[in-house]
Symmetry: C2
Subunit: 299 residues, 2 copies
């Protein structure tokens, strides 16, 4: 990360907070405090539990309650207890609330338009293209990787999604029972580890690492949610697991995969894995890969 890059990022931050940030609040707020506007926005067409709203916006419960009270007084929302659990309350937009939200929507379009408006066609196209790029990469940078227990709800969510995707994509379908599945214990210290990737707190990917005593480390169950593809997350998982394997003193990392997963196969090649002979008899595998890895950087 060199100084010129830092400098450019700072210039960007400055321009963008001035030009977009300030306007954003101003446009969105209108006459209403922006806290209320954001809330109105986050409620959405479907309605939301108060709890979720609080979480999404990262606000104090008292504060949200007060904001809701004021929106309620204006007749923009209704708040009712959930039938299943009457402690939780659900907020829903009224007709007036929906109208108000449409106004916010329009303002947001207007702001976007005002950014493009002074530019000519070619410039607009370039700006939008560059914004998409920035958007994608900043999103990618927002994803966090964390080692969790394979029994964690996020881990289980990812594994369910993973299996159901395999079932769809493998020519032969996929039945976990027939596969050489590591049991959860194998992906838990000290025999291995399991990582999930999260974006805005939601799980969007996972990867497991087996660390069998005296044998190469092995990657299992790597999966990236469809909505998080194209963010370089697969590559990031591989780099992370490689580093962790190295920390545990392994110098070889390996994995097996099914021929239906062509994007993954491309990824393994481009990350320095080489195809080797079968090192297990996983019935769903067609390709086996291996990579020599370096020890952890000396401290």
């Amino acid at each position: 990360m060199d100084a010129a890059q830092i400098e450019q990022v700072r210039r960007f931050n400055r321009t963008v907070t001035e030009r977009v940030g300030v306007l954003h609040d101003h446009f969105l707020g209108g006459d209403r405090p922006i806290g209320a506007a954001r809330l109105l926005w986050e409620i959405g067409e479907e309605g939301q539990d108060v709890r979720r709203l609080r979480e999404r916006l990262g606000l104090d419960s008292g504060y949200v309650s007060r904001l809701l009270r004021s929106l309620e007084a204006e007749g923009l929302v209704t708040v009712e207890p959930q039938p299943r659990d009457r402690r939780v309350r659900t907020v829903r937009l009224t007709g007036a609330g929906r109208a108000e939200r449409a106004v916010l929507d329009g303002r947001s379009d207007e702001l976007a338009g005002s950014l493009l408006e002074p530019l000519n066609t070619a410039q607009r196209a370039r700006l939008v293209e560059a914004m998409a790029q920035v958007d994608r990469l900043l999103t990618a940078a927002t994803v966090t990787l964390e080692a969790v227990d394979p029994g964690h709800p996020h881990a289980e969510h990812c594994l369910r999604s993973y299996f159901s995707e395999l079932r769809e994509r493998f020519e032969s379908g996929f039945d976990p029972v027939r596969s050489l599945l590591p049991d959860a214990g194998e992906l838990r210290a000290p025999h291995g580890l399991f990582m999930v990737a999260r974006l805005h707190g939601e799980p969007v990917g996972c990867a497991g690492l087996k660390l069998p005593a005296g044998a190469p480390a092995e990657i299992k169950r790597m999966w990236v949610a469809p909505e998080a593809r194209g963010l370089g997350l697969g590559r990031r998982f591989l780099a992370e697991l490689e580093a962790r394997a190295a920390q545990h003193g392994r110098d070889v990392l390996r994995l097996d995969t099914n021929r239906a997963l062509s994007a993954a196969i491309g990824l393994y090649h481009s990350c320095g894995f080489e195809e080797v002979a079968a090192f297990n008899d996983e019935p769903y595998a067609h390709h086996w890969f291996e990579k020599r890895i370096e020890g952890p950087a000396p401290a």
Copy 2:
């Protein structure tokens, strides 16, 4: 401006205000209110007049005064009357103030770093590149064009810069007296008009349009400040003047130029001007251009 573009800009706004905007204030502020931090930043190494600070930050005089008082109490700045005009007061950083400013500087680097940190080398390069593009185009979109009287201080500033640049660049130097200069009256309604471009309130370019009765409209004295080049401002001036000439019922737009101004010549070509025989005997001109223009779009 199509809906997909608007949509992408909105996604960008959202990602960026979340990821950069919020962090920006948080990082910059530290323990101190961000008003104070911004002020500390804007004072700069050299010191500033209170009046200018107020202008730059767009703040109320009472508010700035209070903020300065609190920075003064912390021993970060000194405020003293200017010797020339003792109503105006000048703020200067003390040693402690400079140190504090360096801390802000470091935080800003840190924020920039935190955006790049989770990315790999290739992604970083792409992000920085896209940010530069966005930065440049948003800046371009921030430039405003306005018709002003040629006697306006901003107009005069631009013209002085323009002449001094011609003096440097023309092989033969440039002496306004020898040139076929329109007097100011010719660039003032109803005989013509004069426009300046401004970025953050500072003049960064100008262009004049002569509208002689019964003759083609003529562009004069188009200039863009060095720091504003590469923003497509020349092209924007041409489009604007073309539209204005059309509004005044002209169907031909013309101009002359010196061979030393090769970038301008390229611009004229690419904007649809065609080289024609000399239509005046401006001693400093080597090329004459003309463009047929369309009438204003029907209402």
